[in-house]
């Protein structure tokens, strides 16, 4: 295991210390060691934006704390939900009196812990509403859309929700915008190699050399199909077909495209892949309003790529265009 760590059981604590040392402009510690907040948070009268999730997906989740982005984040162990206490303390850190939008991904542990935290928040007089991301088309059929997992579409949901809050939307308005954002997103991933959680010390799952797993989840959840690795062009076509089969797009539609590496895939390959996606969208007359290509939502050192397409309307365009600053995504104009 070729890792840069100290105690394998303390990698999350050690990483948080590094983040705090490196970026006091982005992170203020709280009384809860697993909750970080943006220094300016909470902003009085603004809806607080919170997420939380397992570690190992960096820059997600904490890397999206920032200006016009997340106000606070709850941090879990690698690939594990934060505790209910961490979600609750993140709500408290983000609440400026206008309530908190908790925008998170559809995983059993997160669902349970957010629900528990919301009960305690209500008792403490903090209004919390949620949007549960479910953009991964491979994780359940369209007829069971509420069983789908949230993946990189969460970043679009955070960006839109945070922009709405910054523009002064009230809690219901923020929730509505974030819900629209994730409802307009579809994602699918392809995995080419596994990853190793330091405290476990052996690969989390297995992909044969030369094979790819279409529809794999961010933690190695089984995908739809294992096949020999396709050229980038076929891989792009296959993945796009899954998305467009689930969310049809017509000529003239406008979209945002997010291509994220899973960690170890070289960045140049993400651009080869994006080139294939861009050509196919252009051929269909679909206009790419914004695109993001890079390591936005990873799974330790997995090789592979995820594709997220978000269908835009005027409101979503305005919100996604809002300048923002965070480690994971800084948008100047």
């Amino acid at each position: 295991m070729n890792r840069i760590i100290n105690d394998p059981d303390h990698v999350v604590e050690d990483a948080i210390q590094g983040y705090l040392q490196a970026h006091p402009d982005y992170f203020t510690p709280t009384d809860n060691a697993r909750v970080l907040k943006y220094p300016a948070a909470p902003v009085s009268g603004k809806v607080g934006i919170v997420t939380g999730g397992g570690s190992g997906h960096e820059p997600a989740f904490l890397g999206y704390v920032g200006k016009n982005m997340l106000d606070a984040v709850a941090i879990g162990e690698i690939f594990s939900s934060p505790t209910a206490g961490a979600f609750l303390d993140a709500f408290k850190a983000a609440d400026g009196g206008a309530g908190v939008a908790c925008l998170y991904g559809n995983y059993a542990g997160d669902n349970m812990n957010v629900k528990m935290a919301m009960k305690k928040a209500a008792a403490a007089g903090i209004a919390v509403k949620t949007v549960v991301a479910n953009d991964d088309v491979a994780s359940a059929p369209a007829s069971e859309i509420d069983k789908r997992r949230g993946v990189a579409g969460e970043i679009m949901m955070w960006k839109v929700g945070a922009a709405a809050a910054a523009k002064g939307y009230d809690l219901d308005g923020v929730i509505g915008a974030a819900q629209k954002a994730i409802d307009s997103c579809r994602s699918i991933g392809v995995g080419l190699s596994s990853c190793t959680i330091p405290a476990v010390g052996k690969p989390n799952f297995h992909i044969d050399d030369g094979k790819m797993e279409i529809g794999i989840g961010h933690h190695g959840e089984p995908g739809i199909e294992v096949s020999p690795i396709q050229p980038a062009s076929e891989m792009a076509a296959t993945m796009l077909d899954f998305i467009l089969g689930d969310m049809p797009l017509a000529q003239g539609d406008e979209v945002a495209v997010l291509v994220s590496g899973l960690g170890a895939t070289p960045v140049m390959e993400l651009y080869i892949y994006y080139g294939e996606i861009a050509r196919r969208l252009a051929a269909r007359g679909i206009n790419v309003h914004r695109r993001y290509v890079g390591n936005y939502f990873t799974s330790l050192e997995m090789m592979g790529v995820t594709l997220t397409i978000m269908k835009l309307d005027d409101e979503l365009k305005t919100l996604i265009d809002m300048p923002s600053q965070s480690l994971g995504l800084t948008q100047v104009e």
Copy 2:
């Protein structure tokens, strides 16, 4: 080989197409398929900033084209120098009449091709001066400092040189600032695993599982020592000792720190590592004025980390603080 590519012999072309599709705000193509320029370049009366180098180090080199960053870049095959023709065309793309500063790394191929390109540029009436980065302390002893390779310190050299040009320094002034920047930088890398060039199809070199190679180069050039993998704390101490042995720092000195992953090392580990560096610098009373932690200068899917420390004076602080925008480094304030 778990890669997202089409033809292994055309990965650079295919990646460039993806970059052009994704980022028209950063890249304008030129008549030379291996030269990209910033859309606003050349700026009349401003010294043009050019670099070039092999592909596979993304976001280096092309990812540092941008506002108050590089004006043009010459792009080589993976781990290979751009041609003399590409350097020449990059000079032409960047020259706004005030000359061109070519800021590149000390590798035989780059040295040869830049020299040839400069002769042709002189014949074409373009003034070109160079700074050759040699920040890698592991690549030659201090007595042979001009044999040292350039590594991630190049990013600091580009940022400082580009800021000087943006502030209106003339060509000699820009060269002086960039030279001071790289003279103030020391870097060292540790490799934990190898990488595979797609057209070669097998690992470029070999590191035994559980071993680390201190002082390894960006292309797997042999390092100083192979040892069992150390905990992050020892690794940080070892690397810092090499740098401070070469460039002593005293209490009260101010530095910029750049920690870059080599590609496949999870970002959370880079922060664990940065935390160790930050603690050690603080204990010595050295003030970290700026820090950069992430995948700034990679080597395909190598695992490992490089540490760069730049000693700052008032001029370097002013220049490094200048806001800039590029894919690899956007600094808002």
